[in-house]
């Protein structure tokens, strides 16, 4: 692209042809954009395919949603954007949208002959990044690349906003943003226009970084290495270059590290903010666990991942601790991690819950805005809730550390979670993304939260919960994945927390630490989420972070409703196996929040802990999306959680939750996530 963009005014076609030098898609951008189009109407499908091909995109068509999903799943990075019809016989377009958002975090454009306001609104709330009315004109398709760019940019931006160290990156990005969004740039995508400015280079760099960079997967190990390096240098002195040297990982660029560091910083920031409300955190953590589970489900962590996360938790906890410690004042390490985990979980849904739950749990009514470090584009309360969640998470994590054994456990779990998170994150991201899509605010919030690594937490949660909770951590993963995996995947993730003793730890309020541990476990993933964040920029999975944020928003919003539902959730949670009693009041609030969230959608469903968890997750994240994932987890019961939980519901629930201090901390704790029930 760089080269071609130099060409200047070339039209896309001309430039693309030149660009088609076997470069990555970004080079020829927007030509070569990999589009997946889903429509049951063969006529439309054919016409769309033709039009997209005429736009020089690389088109794959499916006439069934299931086919599309499986294609996406088997080749996660194989597509850049999805176009889907709303009305399809085998699966509702919005459902597909949610799935994609959760699992792959790809931008999705809905299409329909239906131009009714409700339907379009539904698209918005479910996270579609655009809605086209049929008949779709080729001009409309010419610009769809903007959504891909925008998404990536936003991922970067989140980090930027949180005070990225990479100021330089920011500059180009911003300029890029302007350029990206302008469809006029179509031909000059790569900024041939921009070329003309001095930003040329930065733009290029930006483009490169956003578009061309091959995604670096911040695995748990890698993240651990990263954290170790950071800790060695000292969080304040840690600069990408030195970190890179310390890590000594071949193939890793300074830029990768820089972006990851950014996310990590955000994450820490969040933690520190959260740590203030340690107590909250602890509660939240416990409460979060359930959410975690659900969150994890976001990414639909498979059991395997979950298992992996189990290991993580300890590590992640450790990491979180480090992070949290760095930031959080109150808690010692783990709590934060836990919190983070929780946060992560709640990333999608729980995130918010976290804040809320945390607040409630934590005993601090105050709402710790998880997003303390996050740009608060979100509404105040949302932020607050988020912040709380974040803080609580942080706190929780902090608290968690104390429990020695657990922490260790957690850490690994966390670590794993990180990994899983990544997976989950992708899911979470999807969720988040969806959430974010829905609520722009959320996104901002979400992002920060995510950056905190909440995202990872979530994912890690999945993995971790299992680990943490019970010897058979496997459960947690399910939990984590819970939110994400709406579809079947959750089941895996929804590891039946209940079953795992670990989970119960969480619930046991008595030992906040335990909870924390469990939290941590969940948060274990948290740390990873941090990674995820970085990855976000690079990978979709990272979207978890975003998702979390979104969730946070949601949760905050829903806190109100949550409160009411908290009870429900509590009961639901109880089912989960979380000893609700265990969960501290803090957790309770979280749980409540989550429950409340759930209840908004479905009170009865909340009853089932699983649902609650799910709901919570959903609430936090994106109502619909999360719910789905959670639901899936809920092997049982009532997965009634309406998949389309309706963001509003979640939000309100979350908000309510925030307000209600603690109705069911315990419940919230994993119960909310009903990890136990999470069908794996």
């Amino acid at each position: 692209m760089n080269v071609s963009s130099v060409k200047g005014s070339m039209s896309i076609s001309s430039s693309t042809s030149t660009w088609k030098a076997g470069d990555t898609i970004s080079d020829q951008f927007p030509a070569g954009l990999r589009v997946l189009v889903v429509d049951d109407d063969p006529t439309c499908l054919m016409i769309l395919e033709k039009m997209l091909t005429a736009c020089l995109y690389k088109v794959t068509k499916c006439n069934r949603a299931e086919t599309a999903l499986s294609k996406l799943r088997e080749n996660k990075n194989g597509y850049d954007i999805v176009l889907s019809d709303v009305h399809m016989p085998d699966m509702d377009g919005f459902k597909l949208l949610e799935h994609i958002g959760l699992e792959m975090d790809l931008p999705v454009i809905m299409m329909s002959a239906d131009d009714g306001k409700q339907v379009v609104m539904k698209g918005v709330t479910h996270g579609a990044c655009d809605y086209l009315i049929k008949p779709v004109r080729i001009e409309a398709l010419k610009n769809i690349w903007q959504h891909v760019v925008r998404k990536r940019k936003n991922e970067w931006k989140e980090f930027e906003q949180s005070g990225s160290v990479e100021e330089g990156d920011r500059q180009p990005k911003q300029s890029d943003d302007a350029d990206y969004s302008s469809s006029a740039n179509e031909g000059n995508w790569k900024g041939s226009k921009r070329r003309k400015d001095e930003e040329e280079e930065t733009d290029e760099r930006d483009d490169t970084s956003t578009l061309k960079k091959p995604r670096v997967v911040w695995s748990v190990e890698l993240h651990q290495q990263f954290v170790a390096a950071v800790n060695q240098l000292g969080i304040d002195k840690a600069v990408p270059k030195k970190i890179l040297e310390l890590m000594n990982v071949p193939g890793l660029t300074r830029e990768n590290v820089a972006s990851h560091l950014q996310k990590y910083r955000l994450y820490l920031r969040r933690l520190s903010g959260v740590s203030q409300h340690q107590s909250n955190l602890s509660t939240i953590i416990s409460a979060q666990d359930p959410t975690f589970g659900s969150l994890s489900s976001l990414s639909g962590l498979d059991l395997q991942t979950l298992a992996a996360t189990g290991q993580l938790p300890a590590q992640s906890l450790a990491r979180l601790q480090a992070a949290g410690l760095g930031r959080a004042t109150a808690k010692s390490g783990i709590p934060i991690t836990l919190v983070d985990q929780r946060n992560i979980f709640s990333f999608e849904n729980p995130k918010l819950r976290f804040g809320e739950g945390q607040q409630q749990h934590m005993t601090n009514k105050q709402q710790v805005n998880l997003l303390h470090g996050i740009p608060t584009t979100m509404e105040a309360k949302q932020l607050v809730s988020l912040r709380h969640a974040a803080q609580s998470v942080g706190n929780m994590n902090m608290q968690v550390p104390p429990p020695g054994p657990q922490s260790s456990q957690n850490n690994p779990l966390l670590m794993q979670m990180g990994q899983q998170q990544q997976q989950q994150q992708s899911r979470g991201q999807i969720l988040v993304d969806s959430t974010i899509n829905h609520a722009p605010r959320l996104s901002s919030m979400g992002q920060p939260i995510l950056s905190n690594g909440m995202a990872t937490n979530v994912s890690s949660r999945n993995g971790i919960p299992e680990n943490i909770r019970a010897p058979g951590y496997s459960q947690t993963p399910s939990m984590l994945n819970f939110p994400m995996n709406h579809a079947s995947e959750l089941p895996g993730n929804c590891f039946p927390l209940g079953s795992t003793p670990g989970v119960s730890n969480l619930t046991s309020k008595g030992a906040f630490q335990e909870d924390v541990n469990s939290e941590i476990k969940g948060s274990g993933g948290f740390m990873p989420s941090y990674d995820v964040f970085n990855d976000l920029n690079q990978h979709k999975p990272q979207s978890w972070e975003l998702q979390n944020v979104g969730i946070a928003f949601d949760s905050s919003q829903h806190s109100n409703s949550l409160q009411g539902n908290l009870d429900l959730t509590q009961s639901a949670l109880g089912q989960q196996g979380f000893s609700s009693g265990q969960m501290n009041g803090h957790n309770r609030s979280a749980a409540v929040a989550s429950k409340a969230v759930f209840s908004t959608g479905d009170v009865k469903e909340l009853r089932s802990a699983q649902n609650v968890n799910q709901h919570l997750n959903n609430l936090l994240v994106d109502n619909t999306i999360r719910v789905k994932s959670e639901r899936v987890c809920d092997t049982s019961p009532a997965n009634i959680f309406p998949d389309h939980f309706g963001q509003d519901d979640l939000m309100s629930a979350l908000l309510k939750q925030q307000e209600s201090v603690a109705s069911s901390e315990n419940e919230f704790d994993f119960d909310g996530y009903s990890m136990n029930n999470i069908p794996v």
Partner: protein
């Protein structure tokens, strides 16, 4: 001569019928319009049948009707069949109001427009076939 005439005829028909589709056809896929038209033709016939069936059943399942009609509207609008699309919209309104009578009446309109379109399409396809044969 004949061939040219036919080809011209095809081209002009295509232009008048499907301006957008025409744009999409190019060298890489010379039969694009034809394919799409055929597809639509078959698909819409099937849909019409389904709708008719649904309308004749008692009690009328408006949800299903709406679904069918929605799909039909989508594809006919994609192909550029404006009149049919308009009738579909009217139908859907009746459907939403669960006005069985209105639905039936409107459907007659839809069928009518669709029949007209089908005829045109048939002629088009025939001409295309002829042109290709003489080519």
């Amino acid at each position: 001569m004949d061939r040219n005439r036919l080809h011209n005829q095809v081209a002009s028909m295509r232009r008048s019928l499907f301006d957008q589709l025409e744009e999409l056809q190019d060298d890489t896929n010379p039969n694009f319009v034809q394919e799409v038209v055929t597809l639509f033709y078959n698909d819409s016939t099937r849909l019409i049948q389904n709708i008719e069936q649904a309308l004749n059943s008692r009690p009328i399942d408006f949800c299903k009707l709406d679904d069918y009609m929605h799909q039909f509207k989508g594809s006919s609008s994609s192909i550029g069949a404006k009149k049919v699309t308009n009738e579909c919209t009217a139908f859907r309104e009746y459907c939403n109001a669960e006005n069985a009578e209105g639905c039936i009446r409107s459907f007659q309109q839809v069928k009518q427009e669709h029949a007209i379109l089908k005829r045109k399409l048939e002629v088009y396809l025939q001409t295309v076939r002829q042109a290709s044969q003489t080519a």
